[in-house]
Subunit: 313 residues, 4 copies
Amino acid sequence: MSSSASLQSIVDEIVAAMAAETERGKVATYIPGLACVSPAHFGMAVITADGALAAGGDATMPFSIQSVSKVFALTMALGKVGDQLWQRVGREPSGNAFNSIVQLEVEHGIPRNPFINAGALVVADVNLSGHMPRESIGELIRFIRFLADDETIVVDDAVARGEAETGYRNIALANYMRAFGNIHNAVELVLGCYFHQCAIAMSCVQLARAGRFLMLDGRQPEGGCVISPRRARRINALMLTCGHYDASGDFAFRIGIPGKSGVGGGILAVVPGKASIAVWSPGLNESGNSHLGTLALERLAQATGWSVFSARA
Amino acid sequence: MSSSASLQSIVDEIVAAMAAETERGKVATYIPGLACVSPAHFGMAVITADGALAAGGDATMPFSIQSVSKVFALTMALGKVGDQLWQRVGREPSGNAFNSIVQLEVEHGIPRNPFINAGALVVADVNLSGHMPRESIGELIRFIRFLADDETIVVDDAVARGEAETGYRNIALANYMRAFGNIHNAVELVLGCYFHQCAIAMSCVQLARAGRFLMLDGRQPEGGCVISPRRARRINALMLTCGHYDASGDFAFRIGIPGKSGVGGGILAVVPGKASIAVWSPGLNESGNSHLGTLALERLAQATGWSVFSARA
Amino acid sequence: MSSSASLQSIVDEIVAAMAAETERGKVATYIPGLACVSPAHFGMAVITADGALAAGGDATMPFSIQSVSKVFALTMALGKVGDQLWQRVGREPSGNAFNSIVQLEVEHGIPRNPFINAGALVVADVNLSGHMPRESIGELIRFIRFLADDETIVVDDAVARGEAETGYRNIALANYMRAFGNIHNAVELVLGCYFHQCAIAMSCVQLARAGRFLMLDGRQPEGGCVISPRRARRINALMLTCGHYDASGDFAFRIGIPGKSGVGGGILAVVPGKASIAVWSPGLNESGNSHLGTLALERLAQATGWSVFSARA
Amino acid sequence: MSSSASLQSIVDEIVAAMAAETERGKVATYIPGLACVSPAHFGMAVITADGALAAGGDATMPFSIQSVSKVFALTMALGKVGDQLWQRVGREPSGNAFNSIVQLEVEHGIPRNPFINAGALVVADVNLSGHMPRESIGELIRFIRFLADDETIVVDDAVARGEAETGYRNIALANYMRAFGNIHNAVELVLGCYFHQCAIAMSCVQLARAGRFLMLDGRQPEGGCVISPRRARRINALMLTCGHYDASGDFAFRIGIPGKSGVGGGILAVVPGKASIAVWSPGLNESGNSHLGTLALERLAQATGWSVFSARA
């Protein structure tokens, strides 16, 4: 797989195949702002290392990135406190459902990794670091706009309010970690940041653009260095081992590409040295990952040979 | 990193550095045959995709491969029953200690992956498939000899007896899965196979040779096809997500190379398209993985830039 | 054991023995209002079925009854909704530490019994039932005053504030159950009731008086019926199986009397047909129950032969 | 409730009511010897402290006592090693299903109480204490014959063989505890004792007779002392808190009498100072306790007022 022309034709085929799928998963219903999105949507955007874009379907329609935001929030937190972060959050797959509170009790308030909700709350706590939520969320939005080179990216306030109104589990998680001393700021402020971060709206094209630094060993295509190559590799590793809730192992097994999914139906996937990919379809499979998004990435990996576990690459 | 000359110098530097390390981990003591091995040993062998070998230290001294055997046993079982295997064993990281029986109760006798002990027992059950243990273990030995192109590889019977005498947890695991109907052969026969499989003795050079098909998308260097490229990618993925017990995420984070460790102190690591690597040092870290072996692989990855999560590769 | 004269001499001996004990347990420190209480205190009050009182030590000094309040709150909730309560809370010992959240996840937000914190929060939610916390806590205080025939019993507001400020685990528990739909009122209101209920201050004499209806099959000594005999038996049964956190089985084994302890160091114990007993000493043992209080009850049971498991009684 | 005449009429009424019940629970099917027993059976025998017997239904038909044997085996083990037993087994309700292995992992091979299978295996190991299984099981049978004053009580060998053939979970439990060092004899011998102990066949009349010492503070009706009053109280306490698997709390709540059930459908229940009761009906409820046996005991407790939590008694 070499030319961007052929990549576009692969994307076109996938878009057509996904449109024909009748089994489309179930849309998350716990927030009105998510529940009203039609499962008919499917979008895909692929940006290669040479900067070419192949896109199709609803690739420019914004959706709620939800947990995909954890990748950017983690990158920002590592920029603030560096490897000290790992004293407060682990790097192991959770082996549990994505909202599990059990492991926190056994492991004394230290979440297993930064991509489960508990870990993302600790990351949000680090990013807040004494500022007001408005400032912290503003900083994150500016960072994502910079990565995507797109000033139009915003928070969907209606979704953020929906999160705040129904997020009892997340409130429980944050208070529970506070009891162990692993949340330092006021719980309400941390949750405020987290709920707004999850409510960021982006299109597939915007998301694929924002993920380019992870395919380029930490550099922006224009040449600036966002993070070190080592940190980029490590974030990719975390996406591979922990990026898809309790189905992370299966995603690595079937598709072999680091990725992070969200309950809004979006997935950011990164093939180091080759491509930054975003897919979106709101219907979720049993594991809480986009049903068509996962299928589309599997097809793309087969058609291109992209896999971090392949010798051909 | 290109020439084999410079690769040998990297290996030489690592061997020298490991010799100077005073903290060498703790040797596994539960079997006499393992407990009597000196923690002073360190060996390393690297075979690149072009067939070059760089080796150093105790690279030709045989050691007990223990859980590294699970990679070869899994490959053999997939050859027998294909993807039907995945109805009896999962593909997710365990999130638990390597001998945990808890998860089996919650998940009705289905082990989370083929690299925890419970999963390896199911794989041994598949490989046994109505034959006698002697035949089954003979088939596995012949398969490994073929992969390594070395007829001298044998089972260390003293170690196998030691496993059988003290393996109460494994006996418990096998009986527990039998209660759920997920062990089909007589428990004693399955355990006999498993204990002998763990007692296979290989040197780093032999082990690195036996792992070449995983760096070459399933092919032998001479050209024969052992398994399909897809299956090779998938086994590599399982090694990355599940290959180091409860420290698999940390190994992927720090080193970024698929690998499988054993309590004998050996690690087989595979850089697809680039290298098949074996390291050995009997002292283990807290997670049960070779202490110096892990350090050595981290240094090798840094020196060579090898990582499945890197764009440079 | 028959005459109240000899009962007083038994109490006197116990008070003297407890004063001589050097190992007095550790005072709970998580609330300033509890932490500042001296472990030197010990009080005991025993009221027999014929109305006689034997008391000694600090038997008239008020202390924070904490979880002992769960007995009275449960009695009140059963009066409101009857056996429907058992659809929202179980009747089994927890087998876990008293603040465990693990079991809630596995059992879908239904606490195992009304005496663990989660269960007491559901009971508080039932008692709140659409009213304001001030009214609900007022109702509970009036109920306890009626039972003890003592209008001076009050809430210690400083302790209530301390609970509210540091009760992150309880906040987490309440939100977690709210996520499962098993808390119906606003979480803050339920927690407000719960924190005030725990902060009720009573002396041993007051507490033993308030517990008389449980020794008399649900009747007050003066003759009024508080609850049915069946309900009284059942509350006694719950105290025996679940009244001492994760040491309930050991308390039943060693002492054989239904009881409920609190982290303030108080224990209410009930010998049906024979005695209502309150002991208090602020130092706690490893299980979170009053160290000297438990010892004193063991001595009292030995001296009197009181045990629900004895034929002699 | 005073005269034995009226007690017999109560038993007659219960027998008639149970005969009319259409919902009779499900017979345990894991052993052929149990599976072939008709759920139509119901028997009941009540022996009061004054030696009177009231019986009805299939009260003289032998059935497999299964876990009820744990009461006698525990009594025997306490006679051998006294309170040292409690270093190897706990006294707390399990809060888990009766065959759970999870708790053993968390608590390092120490079962929570002697009435779950793991605890009973430790008790069997204590009773074996270097002898041959034949001697150990012979000693237990002689002890039960002595208690019941009936030399005809025997082991049902067909049932014992069935246990041995299908008892994979118990084999797993024993090996698991052996791995922690909490089984001292060879696992096969311990299991042999346990399987034979469970296969003891007794009728309701025999079982009620064998339980008399527990209602009489440790004495036989003829006057001999089997165990101390304190030990009798403590065994009664364990039956109340742990005697009905994961429904022990509910049994205490509803019925309020110490008891021990078995999957053969038998229940031994003890009202200290008043009655030793045996009921049998092979159909089990969801918790694994006799469905009609539980109902019958609830009716008997209501009709007689017997409850350890009642003041009237």
